[in-house]
Symmetry: C2
Subunit: 177 residues, 2 copies
């Protein structure tokens, strides 16, 4: 399962509490790996049970103890092993396309409307990605180094969203005519 290894990847760089990891996950991997907070907490639990991460309690004044997770050697090994084995090509399950395929059964305006809602979402994602890209590009070359690979994942998001929006244009012009 990739979620486990995605979390391990985060911990490889820096330890953190469940919530820390959740936020880092959403901010850095969330664009290409969808996961709910429940999933992340429960995976942290099983990763811990399996000895791939461990966890220290940091006392806090007033608040309950902060559980800080970090990588173990076993976790590191498991991550590297996973990285070295092939992964499957991403499976597509796109309900909007199912709907478009059967779209003759409903009013074109319904389709148009829904398409434009999806377009707005994809446009927002693209904007987010382009902003992140600018942040990266504005860094001095030396500071870019550690982010080169994450930047490539961002490029995937950018090219993917642009392609989606180009397609939406085609569909819109069909629905207009």
């Amino acid at each position: 399962m990739s979620l486990k290894h995605a979390i391990l990847t985060l911990l490889e760089t820096e330890e953190g509490s469940g919530y820390d990891l959740l936020k880092r996950f959403k901010a850095r991997l969330g664009f290409f790996w969808n996961a709910s907070h429940q999933q992340i907490y429960s995976q942290l639990k099983t990763l811990h049970q399996d000895g791939l991460i461990d966890c220290t309690l940091e006392a806090q004044q007033g608040k309950p103890d902060r559980k800080v997770y970090h990588m173990t050697q076993a976790g590191h090994d498991a991550l590297v092993k996973w990285l070295e084995n092939p992964v499957k090509v991403d499976k597509v399950n796109d309900a909007l396309l199912v709907k478009l395929y059967g779209g003759h059964l409903i009013d074109k305006n319904k389709l148009k409307q829904e398409l434009s809602e999806h377009k707005a979402i994809h446009q927002r994602m693209l904007d987010t990605f382009l902003n992140l890209e600018q942040e990266y590009l504005n860094l001095p070359k030396t500071k870019q180094k550690p982010f080169e690979l994450p930047y490539l994942t961002l490029r995937r998001g950018i090219l993917g969203e642009k392609a989606w929006l180009d397609w939406a244009e085609e569909v819109e012009s069909y629905l207009k005519g």
Copy 2:
């Protein structure tokens, strides 16, 4: 669930046995909705139990009876209702990007290799899509009509795969340097 409705969409056009539907599913919807044969058979079963499709037995000489599924009014209504309600934006879960994100932990050549395997798969998909597109474009305009919406779903595949391959070029040139 979209799988149910994808199957209903197929049955809306034409009845068929489980295997017929399986093949049509793979050929027509499989590019944007992934489903195993087990899933399709079991969904047919629940659709039947729920009265959204019914099933007649056609005797065959020698062979066991052929179970032919077709749409019921309830099924049609359920499909239209589903089509009229918004669907969620496709969730991305792309393990290759997780791997690329953590790629500094392994040999660049491993990444290169895996990327090129994925590239080959995506290239094959693009080729398939382009062939289908040609078939469609070679039809006389009148024959194209019933396939206009499916054609748009095909365009999504084409634009999507092209964008993937463009991205792969970027990654390759990074991994080379």
